[in-house]
């Protein structure tokens, strides 16, 4: 395995930087060698750019891939959308010489060329395959005594033929990583259903997208969990902002939303502020009190 370059994308550095900080903290703690993917751009977002023009989508994605090729590192993503764009583009460009030639003709104008020497990884499958739940649990300093609803997100799993992570109907690898932190992954109805954000639906049809979010939230609420754990800042945004919007029409869920890197950070002993939980819109006091009890320190100060 090559060393990794961390691909930030847009939403994490520009809207949820707490996830970026949590990711960097956990990578350091786990002793994973990483560096920044300097000069990277938008992946570009699969829902919109792949919809409009395939060659543009591939060309912008290929530039990000080539920056990693030039460094001889694999790319690590912390977003299902970035994973989807970069992994699919990498796969298409490696396997289709006609498309590769087309894209390289554009890249030539900035003195770059796609060769096809690196892999694109997602933090969840990366931790699962490279460390594994059993060895990961050895790093845990503050086992989390909480119940969580795991949300895989569509593009971590699908299309399954390209992802090669098993079936999408009842996946378990993410749940196993969550349970390595001490948390219990509670089963709930329609667990692998979409959050509603993807495909450009959130940006163009916000109300419609929130109907899909509410479908999920109703079922998550019924499961009686302390928080939602996701692997994608777009799903994260959809659940976090979605709950604020839905509360305006009287539907109060008040379920905190936690990216896996933040959950793992808590279990490694970092405070909720360290991992950026205070930057979420949904700030549930009972949840933070429970985390504080688990960590046996008081981290609820910022709510006062």
């Amino acid at each position: 395995m090559k060393d990794i370059s961390l691909f930030l994308g847009c939403l994490i550095p520009n809207r949820y930087p707490g996830i970026e900080k949590a990711t960097k903290l956990i990578l350091e703690r786990l002793g994973i060698k990483w560096s920044e993917l300097k000069e990277a751009s938008c992946c570009p977002a699969p829902g919109i750019f792949r919809s409009f023009d395939k060659i543009t989508w591939l060309t912008i994605a290929s530039r990000n891939l080539v920056i990693a090729e030039e460094k001889n590192t694999d790319i690590l993503t912390i977003c299902n959308g970035c994973f989807s764009s970069l992994m699919d583009a990498n796969c298409i460009l490696k396997n289709d010489s006609h498309i590769r030639n087309d894209v390289n003709a554009h890249l030539k104008k900035i003195n770059k060329e796609f060769i096809g020497t690196i892999e694109v990884r997602h933090i969840i499958e990366f931790l699962y395959k490279e460390i594994g739940p059993h060895d990961l649990s050895k790093f845990i300093e503050k086992p989390l005594e909480i119940n969580v609803a795991v949300h895989y997100g569509c593009h971590l799993l699908k299309p399954t033929k390209e992802r090669k992570l098993g079936g999408f109907e009842c996946p378990v690898f993410f749940d196993e990583l969550v349970e390595a932190t001490g948390a219990k992954s509670v089963q709930y109805e329609s667990k692998t259903s979409c959050c509603g954000a993807g495909g450009g639906v959130r940006s163009a049809m916000l109300e419609t997208s929130y109907k899909m979010t509410e479908y999920k939230l109703e079922r998550i609420k019924k499961a009686g969990v302390d928080c939602i754990v996701d692997a994608c800042p777009f799903c994260h945004l959809q659940y976090d902002s979605g709950q604020v919007e839905l509360a305006r029409s009287g539907a109060v869920y008040d379920i905190p939303v936690v990216h896996y890197t933040q959950l793992l950070g808590l279990a490694l002993g970092y405070s909720p502020e360290d991992v950026g939980l205070h930057l979420n819109k949904i700030k549930s006091k009972p949840f933070l009190e429970k985390i504080a009890r688990t960590q046996k320190t008081s981290h609820v100060a910022y709510l006062k």
Partner: protein, 147 residues
């Protein structure tokens, strides 16, 4: 997506039953894909109601790449100028900043507060942004999304 592949559909409706959007919207994925074989569906708003979750494609008993077909139909619509204002805005962000969601003042301040500097992206490196602009001109994307 070849029309011949779409015409192997036997209208079982598994795709529509698996569609999280179709539960709330007028998107009937079975119908729009069938219609696309015989006529131009570029004007259909339903094309943009798909979250690209891939459920339909994964569960299709014929193995038809339904989500991929939606993406192809969307790009045909885009070439005819059928781009929703919100999507056009996101495209302009990419052309101007290299990001579909650019950073703002609020988040620059938040980053500083939590000990993160400027993100190591094209935001910090103007040479990188210049490359994005060259590529988007080269592929004709800036022309495609012009109003």
């Amino acid at each position: 997506m070849k029309n011949s592949e779409l015409s192997t559909c036997f209208q079982c409706g598994t795709c529509h039953a698996s569609c999280p959007s179709g539960r709330y919207t007028s998107l009937n994925i079975r119908k729009i894909v069938r219609d696309s074989v015989k006529k131009d569906v570029s004007d259909a708003n339903e094309l943009w109601m798909c979250t690209t979750c891939f459920n339909c494609q994964e569960r299709c008993p014929r193995g038809i790449k339904i989500t991929d077909a939606v993406l192809t139909l969307r790009s045909e619509a885009a070439r005819k100028g059928k781009i929703l204002p919100a999507h056009r805005k996101v495209c302009k962000f990419l052309i101007e900043t290299g990001h579909s969601i650019p950073i703002d003042e609020v988040h620059i301040t938040i980053r500083e507060k939590i000990g993160l500097g400027s993100p190591e992206t094209v935001y910090k490196y103007p040479t990188g942004l210049k490359e994005i602009k060259i590529l988007l001109r080269s592929t004709g994307f800036d022309e495609l999304i012009k109003e």
